[in-house]
Symmetry: C2
Subunit: 481 residues, 2 copies
């Protein structure tokens, strides 16, 4: 009975300590919130990135400008270290000609809102003129078969399924036609492919995005048509037989270019070898300004460092913003950073073994570094609801233990789930991976289209995302993982 | 010990039942979600209300059109009952002239983005030309005093405080200058008043809204200036002495007009005398289209009834949409509905006493009605996060018990708090009052301005609000309160 009593007392003492620690944390988090929601630096950075640099496809002059600008902006913050990490990237260009038109008999051709998919080959100057076969999915393509497809253009008209709260689930089902539509159509002898835009909205914006070519089938030109014009094309194809479609694309695949990840950090005051990384991607599609995808993630990551500096917070671990190059095409930046992190991890392990085996009390600094956690911000600059966490159950539980600190700021959701493609290379290092999760309802209205503009980002929503990341970085730094 | 065991068993049995009941509820709620997020009726209704009718100040021809259109739309749904409730309303008009300009010496006058506050008197054709006294708040006004204010125009330039997660808190602090600025300035002898727009955004839209005149001081003309131009006016006033401001307003106060609350309901299959009401307000400011404020709440309330009909759900209680007239000016519609509900409640109580005292088993139908709950939707058509609940602790606990059913749809917040001005009259009847709470970050970018347009409403966000209300109505109906 006495033991039980002692245990009870211990429990209450411990829970008292937790409460006191959390009270201290809640004050710091309030300060971080105040700084994030008051200062307009991130919003003005986004304005510059979007309106003065604009869409920044990897390998393009705009991507180069974005590298120089973000490096200079990080340097101006007075960080402990800012550096570039060289990455070789594809340098695909859309070209000037993008035309998709339907003609029926002698009527004038009807021009549709369409654009090249990222990585598509061109059509040659004359373009492709052919009959169109409309299908809903890969099963229907298979059923129709080569005899009905050969020499024609395939139109994947897969409608969005609105019945998911999280719009990324609907997007997943749609984007497969964009990515693998050309391969699948070419396999049955198609000469071109048109894909309904991967969006839940009903408008005139065509949405681009990466597509894949297999080595085993011919590379055929591929375009996205807007949701409204996918419906129109469907009606035209059904209303009369004998519709011809003209596709014209002047895409160019240039030689690979040299580009960079941009990295800035505040060195840890206690354990500089432990890294808490966070980032978004610098490159974007060229159809819009890359505001939500992923200008938002870039400026929010920079803002985390600015907030720590502004509040004179000295993190125990090194906190590091990584602005990845080439998320949209081939994730070369992510791979490069992954290689670097693995080499650092290896050096860290060896150094730790060596240092631990040394006699005496004064041990030298550990070499290399270990990534404790990485946070990716690449789901748009909308009001955040929390984080999706790809980590051990113990780490997830620990993060969930901070929920009362985050709930006053609308961050209610701390759940197990995927993170993002730019940080997944760190998974094998035992790094806890997190994704900032904003409200997803409007993301695919903008995503990869001319609608992804600075004017569609709300300052407060953007600031709340910076806050959420900075608060999470603080909590991981102070509590460990 | 046996008693304890029996209690334990009972507890587990009961909790088992709750789980089974909740599983059934979760399936129904999934159906409600699917219907709400798939059907586009609410969005198209909002399109009509905003683009074909437009801004609809109470007493205006547009408000009249909105009454007729919403009634016809409810009738077309095949409800059990649709009726109008007559309300006498103010009929104020902005007039054609709205001018605010600053002149310094012989330089050309600088025109500012400004509009009349709702209910303001006009200036007469010549307008008012006077020096301006800028103050931050009522304290500063008092300090400056009559000798510096008499014969001048007072400019309340109270900046928004961004440091609240919920933007309604910042709005509360700002709107007092709009509502009581004229009274306070006139008390010290001012001849006109200019108020910085009650918004957190930095743009050129002036935001109108109701203002108050006391009987004890002269009625002076009152305008709102956009946030950007409030900053500009501040700079102009500080940069040189001798700035004159010209205010011109041609507002008209017409005789009171007859208008209506519009009510539609599905009669309860079990307890028709028990009412679950929900609504928004039909009137809006005239500067924009009244899309978020409160076209959204109107079409969402209508949509709750459509969803019940479409799913062939027969509620036990009567479920009723109330589209209130005149929320913006004087809440005459709310008062009228409150009177009606109180009379019904009185009849219900008397009838219940009479019926309960009768002998025999077959008792006649109860007269009158009792409002179990009322939900107000008047905070914009943005992604909802839950409900604010003004009810007894027991009722709040019961509603919070449904949180696991609502969380998959982002409805994480079921907290004690205020509801809304259109339903507060029901408070004295013991009715549980709820407000639908959407994300507040963008609301005051639109609120009461020319920016409150249909194009600024996202279809899915709107649909999620309809869903949230329909799910809450279902849960209250099936579980009681």
């Amino acid at each position: 009975m006495r033991k039980l009593l002692a245990l009870f007392i211990l429990f209450f003492l411990l829970s008292g300590n937790i409460t006191r620690a959390q009270k201290g944390d809640s004050l710091v988090i309030r300060k971080i919130f105040t700084e994030a929601i008051t200062d307009t630096a991130a919003y003005h950075n986004l304005r510059y990135l979007c309106t003065q640099i604009g869409g920044r496809l990897c390998g393009s002059p705009q991507a180069e400008k974005a590298v120089l600008w973000s490096k200079a902006t990080l340097v101006a913050m007075g960080l402990d270290s800012v550096w570039l990490q060289e990455v070789r990237v594809r340098h695909w260009e859309r070209g000037k000609t993008e035309e998709l038109a339907v003609s029926q008999g002698t009527s004038p051709a009807i021009r549709l809102h369409a654009c090249a998919l990222g990585g598509s080959v061109g059509t040659g100057k004359a373009g492709l003129k052919a009959k169109v076969v409309e299908v809903k999915d890969f099963d229907e393509l298979k059923t129709i078969g080569r005899k009905n497809i050969e020499g024609k253009i395939v139109f994947f008209n897969h409608p969005p399924d609105p019945v998911h709260y999280n719009t990324f689930e609907a997007y997943g089902a749609l984007s497969r036609y964009r990515v693998f539509g050309a391969d699948n159509a070419a396999y049955y002898g198609a000469i071109g492919v048109i894909v309904r835009s991967a969006t839940l909205s009903h408008d005139d914006f065509p949405h681009t995005g990466i597509m894949h070519y297999a080595d085993t089938v011919p590379k055929i030109p591929a375009m996205a048509v807007s949701a409204n014009d996918a419906d129109k094309l469907d009606r035209l194809l059904k209303s009369k037989s004998g519709s011809d479609v003209l596709m014209k694309l002047s895409c160019i695949e240039n030689p690979e270019a040299v580009s960079y990840n941009v990295i800035g950090e505040i060195r840890g005051a206690v354990s500089p070898e432990k890294i808490i990384a966070f980032g978004g991607h610098l490159d974007s599609w060229d159809t819009g300004q890359g505001a939500h995808d992923d200008g938002a993630g870039v400026v929010q990551s920079m803002e985390v460092l600015r907030i720590f500096r502004a509040l004179n917070m000295k993190p125990a671990c090194t906190i590091r913003a990584v602005l990845f190059m080439d998320e949209e095409m081939s994730q070369r930046g992510a791979k490069k950073y992954g290689e670097y992190a693995r080499a650092q991890e290896e050096a860290f392990k060896n150094s730790r073994v060596a240092v631990d085996s040394m006699a005496g009390e004064v041990k030298p600094q550990l070499a290399g570094s270990h990534h404790v956690a990485a946070i990716e911000a690449d789901r748009g600059g909308f009001t955040p609801s929390g984080f999706s966490i790809d980590a051990s159950d113990g780490q997830i539980s620990k993060i969930q233990g901070w929920k009362d600190l985050l709930l006053p700021y609308g961050l209610y959701s701390l759940v197990k789930g995927g993170s993002g493609v730019d940080i997944r290379e760190l998974k094998s290092l035992g790094t806890a991976l997190l994704a900032l999760v904003p409200d997803s309802q409007r993301y695919f209205d903008c995503h990869h289209s001319a609608n992804d503009m600075f004017g569609n980002v709300n300052m407060r929503e953007l600031q709340l995302g910076s806050f959420a990341m900075a608060a999470m970085v603080y909590l991981i730094d102070i509590n460990g993982l």
